[in-house]
Amino acid sequence: MPRYAMVIDQRRCIGCMACVVACKRENNVPEEHYRTRVVEIVEGTFPKVRMELRPELCNHCKNAPCVYNCPTGASYKKEDGIVLVNKKRCVGCKACIAACPYDARFIDPRNGAAHKCTFCEHRIKEGKEPACVTTCLSRARIFGDLDDPQSIVSKICAEKHLRILIAEAGTKPSVYYLSLQPLT
């Protein structure tokens, strides 16, 4: 059984937002809502300025608070590590949105159900990569199977020092960050 993960190489991100657009297009994400975002943090005063570009999305946490807080079982985790929402079961109680430390969820205004990144599960089934990964022109997003030692993500995870966001939340994310500067 594969164990999907994403590595985000922040050194390569140029902040073009192509991933944000590709995700919206691919997944028919409702107006004014997003499954992925790019955070730009500019620090300092000219000429000593530093910029961090950080693409963010659902971390498909191994210990996912959205899943264990869902009262109806609508939020669930597949064996391959992907966290999904079964909208037929969702009551729109928003417990999962309150529980997610990464603010990765929202309510789809078209049907009232919780909505989030699926790692483009439909594309994975066809042997393709998520739309944001395929679109990224600088290859800052790398997707693959951690259980396959030959996959690029496995190799990066084995060789590089990676970080995760908000480690203190204890969610064990499947999205890793490769960066020059320490992440909080």
Binding site: V39, C90, V91, A98, G112
Partner: protein
């Protein structure tokens, strides 16, 4: 200097979470008050004077009758908040042991019928004729023999009801203000405070009103201790917890507790305080507790762990 720009931010989560509104605050307030009514009503039922219909204080009838009604109103507000209302039956086709909301849905589903039974069992003989249907009348007579047993069950359910909303909010690591183990106890205690204030307002007997006003002072004193512990737990925790205690929240919290108790204290020292004054204090206590619940819902959503990842 630091500048943050986000392409792809969702308005309901950035700059802060905005998912639960006044409807949830009202549910929390009513749920807490019902918990208080159930606990205080059941305890009054166990007092030695309550063995006969004549000796039982009014609260022994009042609390069981009001509980299912007020809780059903609270449930209506929860229902209003659901964004997929027609799917609400899924709450009862699934039980997630790790989800406090699942515990709550099943718990409330159990409390409404059991408190209704308690209400039927508690109706005194001389008022039973208000039950129009003869079968209901007979049923009320039959189960009145189990009045004490039902009070015991409702006492336990009242404590559950008072605590679970606090457990629900305190379990969210993502929202530092709510994430404190003191919150469930604070919610239970504040439920007892509003329950006793409600009893003060509707009790028929002046002595009973005075008795619950005195009890209310003790409960409010406990509330102050719990608020201080709540603050202590945050102040000694990490930065997001410390920052969650923003000034206006502090103001609401203390105004909701200190102001009513300041008015309440002279009532105790007076020999026979005017009933109007006793009622006024009860109303202020209820408003104070409502303000506290509203503040908890809104300020809890302002505090966010993901903020620190961006600093």
């Amino acid at each position: 200097m630091k500048e943050i720009a986000i392409t792809g931010a969702n308005a309901i989560t950035y700059p802060h979470l905005e998912i639960w509104n006044w409807a949830i605050s009202i549910y929390l307030f009513l749920g807490g008050m019902v918990a208080g009514l159930m606990v205080l009503g059941a305890i009054s039922q166990f007092r030695p004077s309550s063995t006969t219909d004549a000796g039982r204080p009014f609260v022994c009838y009042l609390a069981p009758v009001l509980s299912p009604i007020l809780l059903s109103i609270g449930m209506f507000f929860i229902f209003l908040d659901l964004s997929r209302k027609l799917n609400a039956f899924w709450f009862y086709l699934n039980f997630n042991i790790m989800s406090p909301m699942s515990w709550g849905a099943w718990g409330v589903g159990l409390i409404i019928p059991l408190s209704t039974l308690w209400a039927l069992a508690s109706i005194p003989e001389e008022h039973r004729h208000y039950l129009r249907w003869p079968k209901l009348h007979d049923f009320s007579f039959k189960i009145s023999a189990y009045r004490n047993k039902l009070a015991g069950v409702n006492l336990a359910l009242g404590i559950f009801l008072g605590i679970y909303t606090g457990v629900l909010l305190s379990g969210y690591v993502a929202r530092p203000l709510w994430n404190s183990a003191v919150l469930p106890l604070f919610f239970l205690n504040s439920g007892l405070v509003s329950g006793s204030a409600m009893i003060i307002l509707i009790a028929r007997n002046y002595q009973e009103k005075l008795y619950f006003t005195k009890l209310n002072i003790w409960l409010t004193t406990a509330e102050i201790v719990l608020v201080l512990l709540f603050y202590y737990s945050h102040l000694t925790s990490t930065a997001p917890h410390r920052e969650a205690l923003i000034p206006f929240f502090t103001a609401v919290l203390f105004a909701g507790i200190i102001f009513p108790i300041a008015l309440e204290l002279p009532v105790i020292t007076a020999r026979r305080p005017a009933p109007l004054r006793v009622h006024l204090i009860a109303v202020l206590i209820l408003l104070g507790n409502l303000a506290i619940r509203v503040a908890f819902v809104y300020v809890g959503q302002l505090s966010s762990l993901s903020d620190i990842a961006r600093r």
